[in-house]
Amino acid sequence: MLVMQTIVNGLLIGGVYALVAVGFSLVWGVANIINLTHGVFVLLGAYISFWLFQLYHIDPFLSIPFSMAVLFITGFLIQKYLLNYVVRAGVFMTLILTFGLARVFENQMIVAWTGDWRTVTTSYAGSGFVIGGVSIPYIRVAVFILALIFCICLNIFLNRTKIGMAIRALTFNVEGARIVGIDIGRIYMITFAISAAMAGAAGSLISTIYSFSPFLGTPYLSWSFVIVVLGGLGSIYGAIVGGILLGLIESFSVLTFGPGYQVAIGFVILVIFLVVRPQGLFGKKFLT
């Protein structure tokens, strides 16, 4: 029964992990941008939902479209006016720029909203159903389902729409894409914006189940790294599988080794994968 509870816990949180990582994976796979601001985007989504709930009593699930829209615009502007200028200078430059951006955002959040930890506590928080001794909170199920829906929608977008296919074209061959007339700069902007919007949605969902503060950008970013390595770069299914896998691994590590090793185990797996199967389960090999 404890094992069942552990599986359920890991599975449910894995969905959120997947949504956090999916945007990160997309931007890296498409534009070769390792976006160190990604964790902060997630946080911004969480804060937007928090303040809308706190000030206007808007249910956090209903505020998701709003946080996605705000993050979409933010991502678009960052790509257009900052990242576009360094994309051609190589991965290292984008690392530095996004790192700096993350610190700027982080400190602005501290100034604006203080270091207090926040969370969204709705009236239905904590309620759930119990099946065979395993307790399943409603919110976690809703979050899991929504996270998966977002990932699947993203996948449909990438495979069935013109813009989506243009984005995918860039992951295969940038020169080829340019030759067939795809506007690289514009596609980068849209990709980055979508990635930020996904992060925003993830943040809104996270605000309902976890507490957060401006300093949590880095842990969210670490999850993204581990999941990208596990699931493979640029693959949505990879992010989903990677996310769920990470959730389950962390859950079981608490059962087996104790809570102190929860984060460490994820990174041990990351190292193992890097050595044994660096492209992850579904991804292509890393670009350098």
Binding site: I13, G115, D116, S135, S211, F215, L216, V254, L255
Partner: protein, 411 residues
């Protein structure tokens, strides 16, 4: 073109350097009245921001109160108190750097301690090196007081005894609890508290079914709590800080399980605990380092209740232990200065070692050779109906201890 650019940037560079040199001089010499500079590195942001800001208010209250009376007396002369606060962002390394800055650059006369043992260990290493006395109002992990430091003094009694009164209370109930699960955030103070209660439980024959440390900055403990639930302990005692207690309480509710006796080291001491969790907070116990209902009285400030009313007037809310222990630290320092008759650290240290405070707003204070307050004791509070009620010691209790905790579904 390139040459001119280089020349201009060289000149600009020098202007910048010279300008910064002058800016760094700061305000040093011109003090119109005699003043005593007291420095404190406190967690004004980060994980411990709530507790840290409370401590700052406690210090400020003392400084403003005494300055309103013309200052504090040292060697027959009156000095105004000038507090210098720095934000250590709840980070021990930063706190250590700031303490060094206070001593070497700001040239403070005296230090008042930070919030939390983890940070105090870092700052004490620095203050010990420079031989500056530090009164620690809120850092009571036993670890600090066995290192052989000579210049630290703790207002609170040692951490390992913190939860003893709670255990005693629970063991008086029937049916008598027999199984304990103890968990601690992986930080200096919580570990001492948890190990202390573990050892105490063992000495009384209570079975320890689970004992683990969890990461200090975790955002998810549901897996650990599921393991604890499967062991079905009667008592769950947690040692950590405010954020941990909120997380654990919520995730216990998610799991649909609560032990018969639930205790946290810090959480319920802060009013935000009951405000945030509402009816889910009921039944939780906490160590109470201080409560305004306790019958303490300070010769300078008045009773704990009078202090509470003054604080309410000044800051708009009733004080909790972080405020009271901060103010008490200031008052203790003031008394040590009067006894020492000088600002010399060695004389202040000797004065503190000899001091016997029969009563203060936080109760009696006397130090042993290692700086532990051997006259100090803790109370126990329990959240009932959204309010903090003192349930122990009996002479200060304003409510009866409720056991077992009401299950979630029945609230």
């Amino acid at each position: 073109m390139k040459d001119r650019f280089r020349k201009v940037s060289q000149v600009l560079g020098w202007v910048l350097v010279v300008g910064m040199f002058f800016m760094m001089q700061g305000s040093t010499v011109f003090a119109a009245t005699d003043e005593v500079k007291i420095g404190a590195s406190i967690s004004l942001s980060g994980k411990l921001t709530r507790e840290g800001n409370g401590l700052k208010e406690g210090y400020e209250f003392w400084a403003d109160y005494m300055n309103g009376k013309g200052g504090i007396e040292v060697g027959g002369k009156k000095y105004k108190i000038k507090m210098i606060f720095y934000d250590d962002e709840s980070n021990p390394q930063r706190a250590a750097k700031l303490t060094e800055k206070l001593i070497t650059e700001d040239k403070i006369n005296l230090i008042l301690g930070p919030y939390s043992s983890g940070i105090a260990i870092a700052t004490s290493a620095i203050s010990e090196r420079y031989r500056y006395v530090t009164i620690l109002p809120l850092a009571n992990s036993d670890k600090i007081y066995v290192t052989g430091y000579k210049y630290v003094f703790s207002i609170l009694p040692v951490a390992s005894r913190d939860m003893v009164p709670m255990m005693d209370l629970c063991l008086q109930q029937s049916p008598k609890p027999t199984k304990l699960a103890a968990i601690a955030a992986n930080s200096v103070y919580p570990i001492m508290v948890a190990e202390g209660i573990r050892d105490y439980a063992k000495s009384l024959g209570v079975a320890l079914v689970y004992f683990e440390k969890f990461p200090d900055d975790t955002s998810d403990l549901s897996s650990m709590l599921a393991v604890i639930k499967s062991k079905n302990p009667d008592l769950l005692f947690e040692a950590g800080y405010y954020e941990h207690s909120i997380l654990i309480n919520r995730q216990l509710k998610d799991l649909g399980w609560a032990p018969k006796g639930l205790a946290y080291s810090v959480g319920p001491q802060l009013p935000e605990f009951a405000e945030t969790l509402k009816k889910d907070a009921d039944g939780a116990m906490a160590v109470a380092y201080w409560h305004r209902a306790l019958q303490y009285k300070d010769p300078v400030l008045g009773s704990a209740q009078e202090y509470a009313e003054m604080m309410k007037k000044k800051f708009g809310k009733y004080p909790i232990h972080v405020h009271a222990d901060g103010t008490a630290a200031g008052l203790l320092l003031q008394r040590a200065l009067k006894d020492a008759g000088s600002l010399d650290q060695e004389k202040i240290r000797s004065a503190l070692l000899k001091i016997e405070v029969k009563d203060s707003i936080v109760g009696p204070i006397k130090f042993d050779r290692n700086g532990r307050n051997i006259w100090g004791s803790t109370a126990v509070i329990q959240i009932q109906g959204g309010d903090q009620k003192v349930v122990y010691p009996e002479k200060a209790a304003n409510a009866k201890f409720l056991y077992p905790v009401v299950p979630w579904s029945q609230r």
